[in-house]
């Protein structure tokens, strides 16, 4: 599945300072949908190069990381359960650092 992932607010530092990643994520085995939960796992293994604890806490993002799916706060779309579709844009912004 083609997705655009954006990291901001300092999170880009965790993945080689690249802010925008156009990625192709495989659907998890025996499933034909991709949820944010799956995507976070994928990002954790494939994109985050250092200090993953700055991004993930437990099975979700660290408190203070803002997640937007197609410009819409994921709190409105079901957070981890949000299902993703082809060409979706997911933005992660850390609000933890600096003003």
């Amino acid at each position: 599945m083609q997705l655009t992932l954006e990291f901001g607010g300092g999170l880009e530092l965790l993945c080689d300072s690249v802010k925008i990643h156009k990625v192709n994520v495989d659907l998890p085995d025996e499933s034909h949908i991709l949820t944010m939960k799956d995507l976070l796992k994928w990002v954790r293994t494939n994109l985050i190069k250092e200090r993953p604890e700055m991004f993930i806490k437990g099975d979700t993002v660290r408190p203070g990381v803002l997640v937007l799916v197609n410009d819409c706060d994921w709190e409105l779309s079901g957070q981890l359960e949000t299902t993703l579709e082809e060409k979706d844009v997911v933005v992660f912004i850390s609000t933890l650092h600096g003003g």
Binding site: G64, D73, H97, G98, G99
Partner: protein
């Protein structure tokens, strides 16, 4: 079937923006839990800031105001909102952007670029003051001399003065900074955790430093090096709290405002530095003590409690001694990257 459901989920269900009832909501405001759309969010957000400004009589018409701009989110938003409100409500302010260049290679470059973009975007004149110009030392030079340990002491102390000196260059009446509610809540907690009652009494006040050279409204400093362990815990704690009860952040600030702190609680005496004229509770201000150390090749001077005392103690011995020992600890316990008022 599933896809259909997903679509409706993504559209935020059948719900519409709580305020205009027209557009689809894009976010849930932590403060009110309202689901609102982009347009309404801008509107209420800007209106709230306007109310804060009006209610607290922050500005007078004709004033020159510097916006402490770090290039980060908060100060960028502040620059935008303030220039917007200044036009919309005819505050009659002369606005400036004021940035500090610590001289850390690869650290400020990006954010200074952002500030320069802001300068063009909002048509606000920009003044950049650098450590190099003010003190003759960049942070890179300092780190080369003293290593990574303790460099935040220099950075913090120098930055405090740099803003004021930059403000003097611009001849502004006030400095505005982009501290947000999270920052202030965090400061309240940290001051409790480290037992700093003097700061605790000051940190929620919307204006600080009225007795200083220039009244300044919140400024935030950031540092990517060696944060204190409990500072990290506190930040995460606040985010956990917000998740559980969004109102908690505002409640912490309310608590901070309501604490019964007697005015008799010892506050450091304020005087002026004999060397540079900056406000100081000691003969020399902290920046001058640190600078003296750097220039004399004794960079450890002024770091830590006892040593900070030594330098000024030295001076006292040569001249007459004046201030008690209690004052020193307050200066030197300043935390790296902390919000200094």
């Amino acid at each position: 079937m599933e896809a259909g459901e997903a679509k409706s989920k993504k559209a935020g269900g059948p719900r519409l923006c709580c305020i205009c009832n027209l557009r689809r909501p894009v976010l849930k405001r932590p403060k009110t839990l309202q689901q609102i759309c982009r347009e309404c969010f801008y509107e209420v957000f800007e209106e709230e800031i306007h109310q804060v400004i009006v209610k607290n009589h922050l500005f007078k018409s004709g004033e020159r105001v510097a916006i402490g701009a770090s290039g980060g989110k908060d100060s960028t938003v502040l620059a935008y909102v303030l220039s917007e409100l200044n036009k919309r409500h005819s505050y009659g302010l002369d606005l400036f952007l004021l940035s500090i260049d610590e001289g850390i290679t690869g650290y400020r470059d990006d954010s200074l670029e952002t500030v320069k973009r802001n300068e063009v975007q909002y048509g606000l004149p920009l003044q950049i003051v650098s450590y190099k110009d003010l003190y003759g030392w960049t942070m890179d030079d300092i780190v080369k001399m003293i290593g990574l340990k303790n460099n935040c002491t220099f950075c913090g102390v120098f930055r405090r003065q740099a803003l004021d000196r930059g403000a003097a260059l611009l001849k502004v009446d006030k400095i505005v900074t982009g501290h947000n509610a999270d920052d202030i809540a965090e400061t309240v907690l940290l001051n409790i955790l480290r037992g700093d009652i003097a700061r605790l009494s000051r940190c929620t006040s919307i204006t600080t430093g009225e007795d200083g050279p220039i009244p300044r409204y919140y400024f935030s400093t950031e540092c990517i090096y060696s944060p204190n362990a409990y500072r990290g815990f506190a930040r995460e704690f606040i985010k956990d709290l917000e998740r559980l009860r969004p109102k908690a952040i505002l409640d912490i600030i309310k608590s901070g405002e309501d604490f019964r702190i007697a005015t008799t609680t010892k506050m450091p005496e304020q005087g002026t530095c004999e060397r540079c004229g900056y406000i100081s509770s000691q003969k020399w201000c902290k920046a001058c003590v640190l600078l003296e150390g750097l220039n004399r090749g004794l960079p450890k001077m002024g770091i830590g409690r006892s040593r900070a005392g030594d330098v000024n103690g030295d001076l006292h011995n040569k001249n007459e001694s004046k201030s008690g020992p209690t004052v020193k600890s307050i200066e030197s316990r300043k935390q790296c990257g902390s919000l200094d008022f």
